[in-house]
Structure formats: C-alpha cells, structure tokens
C-alpha cells in the first residue's frame, strides 16, 4: 500500500547533477560546499501546494495561440505530451506542469536576453497545464532554437524546453529540461554532461512521436516525467496524529 501521506523514498542523488559541475561555470560559486543534512519526511515535506484547473486560462497550454497578436508564431509546430508518474509507476493526477522556452531563433522574451536573434511578436514562450486523472499532460508550441551563452567562448545550448513540476508533496519539487531526439548539441552541453549517469541523462531526451503527430499540421514529441515515489509498506505508516 502507498498512502498519500507516507514518506518519500530517499532521493537517488547519483542520477542528478551534483551542485558543483565546474564545466558549467556558474555552478562554481553557486554550489554549497557543505554536505546537505538529511531529513526524514514530516508533514512539511509530504504536503505541498495544490492547484485548480479553474486557475488556468483556456489557452495556457497552447503556446501557438497564447501570445498570438497579429498572426501565429514562426517555427516548427509541435505537440508535446507525456505522463507525470512517481517512481512506483503511478500517474500523478491534477498536478501543475509549467514550461518555458526560447522562440524558433533561440531568443527568449526576457528583458535580460540580448541575443541578436529577433523576438517573435506572436510568441511568448511560456505555458502551463494540470495533469488529468492519469497524470497525462500535453501542450502545443514551436520547437525552440539553440542559442549561444557565455560559458566557454563558443558554447551553444541544445534546443530545450524548461519544465517545472510539483507532485503532491513539496519534497517532489523538480525543475528540469527536455531535449530533442537527434540534436548534436546535446552531448556537448555541460548541463547535460553534469549528470553523472549517461542513461539518466538520456531520459531527458524526448523521442519524436510520429504516431501523435497531426498530419499536415504538426509533429509530436513525447516526454515522460518521473517524480519521487513514496515508501510502500505493509504496515500503517501514517504521519497522522504524531
């Protein structure tokens, strides 16, 4: 049995990039040097914010239309879909999934982005949705372009979409990035290479999903997300009434 209030499985830090990954230069001064203190789950960790569908607008998961002004954005039209599950394989229902990205030219609609590729007047670059009762989510967008960044002199990020997910407890909070199958920049990227386990990094690469493409309209990519699971035990392990 898994209870909605049971403790989380220990996070396997070996599949995550460590804090200090010097090839990604900004991490050098922004990584704690002391060991983290391990905490067993209390109510502060097993609970987390909940969100209602009514808080979202009807176009929040449609980046092709949610900032369209005088037309639709330019670029490769794609459909992105997948499930949010926990480590025990259960879909996580009704959880908030948010995403943001550059436009087709690799330019972000952000006051700090000075890249010379132009802004697309019809593209905002962010969206959000809530998973259905099975943990399924989807959105449509424009495939983002790669962009240069000041790491090494000639560093280019692979095309990617940032994801933010909640789960049902605050200890599941996760931000990650989705990459696209076949992109030759992926294995040159210090953020991807910061993940010590290559097979774990591969799970950030969304395969092309022709079966979900809409003929004569848009291609599709599938990106499943796994959040931490909760301990399964034969015994009642409730935090209730501590």
């Amino acid at each position: 049995m898994t209870h909605a209030d049971s403790e989380f499985l220990q996070r396997d830090r070996s599949i995550h990039p460590p804090a200090f990954t010097p090839d990604y230069k900004t991490s050098v001064l922004r990584s704690p040097r002391r060991a983290m203190l391990s905490l067993q789950s209390s109510l502060s960790e097993v609970t987390g914010p909940t969100f209602g569908r009514s808080e979202l607008g009807p176009l929040d998961n449609d980046l092709i239309l949610n900032y369209a002004r005088e037309g639709e954005p330019i670029g490769e039209r794609i459909f992105v879909h997948g499930h949010v599950r926990d480590e025990n394989g259960r879909g996580i229902p009704h959880t908030l999934v948010e995403f943001w990205q550059a436009n087709a030219g690799g330019r972000y609609r952000h006051r700090n982005d000075r890249y010379l590729a132009p802004i697309d007047p019809n593209f905002g670059g962010c969206g959000r949705t809530i998973t259905d009762e099975n943990g399924f989510y989807y959105f449509r967008t424009i495939k983002p372009g790669p962009y240069p960044w000041r790491n090494n002199l000639n560093s280019w990020r692979p095309a990617h979409i940032h994801f933010s997910v909640f789960g049902s407890g605050f200890a599941q909070r996760l931000i990650t990035q989705m990459y696209f199958e076949g992109d030759p920049l992926i294995w040159r990227d210090p953020m991807v290479l910061g993940i010590p386990d290559r097979s774990a990094a591969e799970r950030l690469i969304a395969p092309l999903d022709l079966g979900a493409a809409v003929p004569l309209d848009m291609l599709a990519y599938k990106f499943d997300i796994v959040l931490r699971g909760r301990q399964q035990t034969l015994f009642e392990n409730k935090l209730q009434g501590n």
């Binding site: 990604y24 922004r30 990584s31 209390s42 006051r111």
Partner: protein
Amino acid sequence: MVQPLPVRLRETPSQTAGPYVHIGLIPHQAGFDIFETNFSNVLAGPETKGERVRIEGRVFDGAGALVRDAFIEIWQANSAGRYNHPADRQEGKPLDEGFRGWGRTGSDFETGLWFFETVKPGPVDGRKGHRPMAPHINLWIAARGINIGLQTRLYFADEAQANAEDPVLNLVERGPLRESLLAKREERDGQAVYVFDIHLQGPNETVFFDV
C-alpha cells in the same frame, strides 16, 4: 540466482532553472504579461487569519556577490499550524479557506531583494514520537548555476523556546550553522519583517536539507 525485484522507475534528473526562469514561472518579472491569473509572492489575503508578516532577504554566492536571478518558493502552514493539503489531518487545527500556503518570487534584478507577504505559521506536529516543530517556512531555491533546487527552512529568531525544542533544528550544530536558519525580526512602519539572507557557499553557508 535470486528473484528479481520489481522494476522501479527512476526520478527524472534535475536541470538548472537557468537565467530565464522568470519567463515560465513569473512572466511579469521577465517583462511581459501573458496569463489571466498569476501566482505571486502575496500569500495572505484580507481574510487570512494570523499575524501579517513580511519575510525578505537576499541570496549571495560564494564570492559574496548578490544573486540577482534567484527564484524562490515558500510552502508553509497557516497560523493554526495546518497545511492546506489533504495529507494534513492534525486534529483541532482548522483550515483557513483561501490560504494556500504557497508563493513564489524572484530576486529583484537590481537590488537582489526578494520578499513575501504572508502570515506567521503556527507550530506543526513533528514526526511520530517527536516534539512539535517550531513555526517554520519551507523554502526552495532555484537559479542559474544551481543544478538541483535547494531546500531549506526559515525559522523565526524570536521563537527561542520553540526553536530550542525543534526536532529539525536540533539536528544542526549550535552556532553559526543553526543561526543560518533563523530569520531576524524587525519592525518597519508598524509591520513585522523577518530578514532571512541565504548564502549558497562560503563561511556563512546556509544549511540545506536533503528532504
């Protein structure tokens, strides 16, 4: 040979939120408006019960420089010490309708300051067999250069007695480490302000938790 264990899925690896996290999570700070409703750093509405407090601080890197692109979320119980979540079944602690207990914000691009308008949380039950936890706010910090979100807790320096019995604070050595988790109270124009600076690295490094 032994029987195989059932296959467990593995968590999706974390990646940094990057420099443009604001676009997706707080687009108004990125410089544009897109959603009808935005999540914000104001947790307490006019009906919310409890003492109104502002919590604020800055994030510093290992060279002591301001981190001006940090993204911070908080998660807290209401003034009665109850989380707005179905797994919280503490008895005798009412839900405060309309108080979600969660908010998000970014550091100011110029000053590095972040803040939340909220209420001071009440104490929450500890794990089975442990003392109640002193009032605290859970923080989660993401930013460019941070590969996996950092979890910490803000405790209130003026809750000395509750803090002295807190089961989590007591895992932290007395002295500067424990001090790094205490927000100092100030009064500013009649409002209670708790100041909580976060040091990502260095001699004043904040305690971070593997939760």
